[in-house]
Amino acid sequence: MEILLPLLVALPLGVAFGIVILAHVPALRRATGVLAAAAVLANLVIAVRIFNLPSMAFHVGGWGGGKTLGIELVCDGLAKVMLVTVNFIAFVAIVFAGPYMRRFTKLWLFQSLFLLMTGAMNAVVLAGDLFNLFVFIEVAAIASYALVAFGTEAEELEAAFKYLVLGTVGSAFILLGVAILYSLTGQLNMAKVAQGLTVIGSGPAVLLAAAALIGGLALKAAMVPFHAWLPDAHPSAPAPISAMLSGLLIKTSGIYALARIVFNVLGPTTQYAYILIILGAASMVIGMFLALGQWDFKRLLAYSSISQAGYIVLALGAAAYLVATGGETWVAKLCLFGAFFHLFNHAAFKSLLFLSSGAIEQQAGTRQLREMGGLVRTMPVTSFCCRVGALSISGVPPFSGFFSKLVIIISLALAARTSDNPALMYTLCAIAVGVAVGTLLMYIKVQRYALEGPQAAAGAEVKEAPVLMCAALVILAIVCLGAGVALLGFREYIFDPVSGALLGALR
């Protein structure tokens, strides 16, 4: 079944370029949208199929075995969870894009870039060697630069240019780190580089490589000192792309790659753990305060993405700290469970919120919260789904966000009781609780101004969004409602392999 792994990458890439050809055949021009959605659906089916199979690796071109220089696609417990997340959100986003993108021209370009980005994200998740990781981070990033500028309005071009400049600098640093690691170990395969590094120990060159890699990947993940591009780029893109960028791209090419590099390649030490903890805590707090002051719905969501991504990185940092200082392994596992549980949940509810903001923008013609008002009466389905997403992200009990935040907070509290630095862990725990309250405030504001309140002047003739858009929203709302309890029940089945994949190399 290893043949399924390259298919996850090759299928979207092939269809992406096929669409460009189809678009120039007059008879088939209308079929491109359906074809793109079918390709993503096929990927989702493959990802779900792979989920039940044991971990496996595919050596591209048969360069496996003793040779270590070939491209290797590795599918372990962590990659499986990420694959399902990526392809599920991508499918919902492309269903939503059907009616939403009608106001744009050259839709085939959008579909082609969308598939390029999805395929590249699958490849990032499967990458077993550092250079392949870099290449596909770049492919996904280039597709996303073009997609942010897709509307080609003045502000979109400006946001895309800022994003491109910062993203490219980040990629250059990632490549610098990969080059230094290669010159030190003579290997590119992650497992072999990790073996090589245990022999070398940590010299100044390793630290330089680590700094370049963590800095570059933190820029891709929009952690706080490097976040300046995100609030411009994510709201400027069309809504399905905003959902993809905030829901998936910062996670796959940022957080996932960061977790792989720190846990599987460099090996967690207290230095790296402190860096992750500081990045995460700063992102949570500063992202929350910046989001509270926003009146543009999509900008608010973008800042809140920074804050929620902070939760994931904070939990990763806490796990790295526990592993590095020889703390309890089961607490470290709980931290990782919290991190990736929150990653999945955030992908679902942030996509839901961005898609509903897109539906509102299309139907009500505004992104400003003050100009909306009373949408609960004119757009009942969208409002209901938006409300589910908002309750979920603010951590209200039956919804998924509550459970993942709870797991993160409990694991931090347990870490405080078992690790050698309780003061730090209690502080982090307090920050996590405080930011959760701030998030609740932020989304009460959204509810109050967008959905409740008096009807806006222009709002009388606002209609409900088209059926396909509502369908996409309802699917995500069901996931937000059900995933919390359901995934908690399957913790051993789904998330233990995840922590096994990250911690396995250490034992």
Binding site: E138, F161, V169, Y182, L188
Partner: protein
């Protein structure tokens, strides 16, 4: 030797970073990014450098053991060159996209000055 290539790379990289951070003109920013790219590519090429090196191809004219021994003595590491080629191609795509964006920005704003392109704030 090994310290020298890092210092050289960093000097070039910082020149590019300075242009990206301090310059307001879009074209100068693009040139800065290219300089950063070249710095990293140069590091990759220098990692693969071997004085007196030859192409890592087995000499069919010699016996097998001799050819392998010769290769071990003079052959350069081919992998950095494969990587640098990939990286250059990615850089080409990025440059094309950057320049295209710069042209569209000029059409919209009538200037290349980032200081005057300020549609977005907050």
């Amino acid at each position: 030797m090994s310290i020298a290539i890092y210092i050289l790379t960093f000097a070039v990289l910082l020149v590019g970073l300075y242009a990206v951070v301090a310059k307001k003109n879009i074209i100068k920013i693009i040139v800065g990014i290219l300089v950063i790219d070249y710095a990293v590519n140069m590091l990759l090429v220098l990692i693969g450098y071997r004085s007196g090196g030859a192409a890592p191809i087995l000499d069919k004219g010699l016996e097998k053991e001799k050819a392998v021994a010769e290769l071990a003595k003079t052959g350069v590491d081919p992998l950095p060159q494969a990587m640098v080629l990939t990286s250059i191609v990615i850089g080409l795509g990025l440059t094309a996209l950057m320049v295209a964006l710069a042209v569209r920005l000029y059409q919209k704003y009538g200037t290349f000055d980032m200081g005057r392109i300020r549609g977005l704030k907050g």
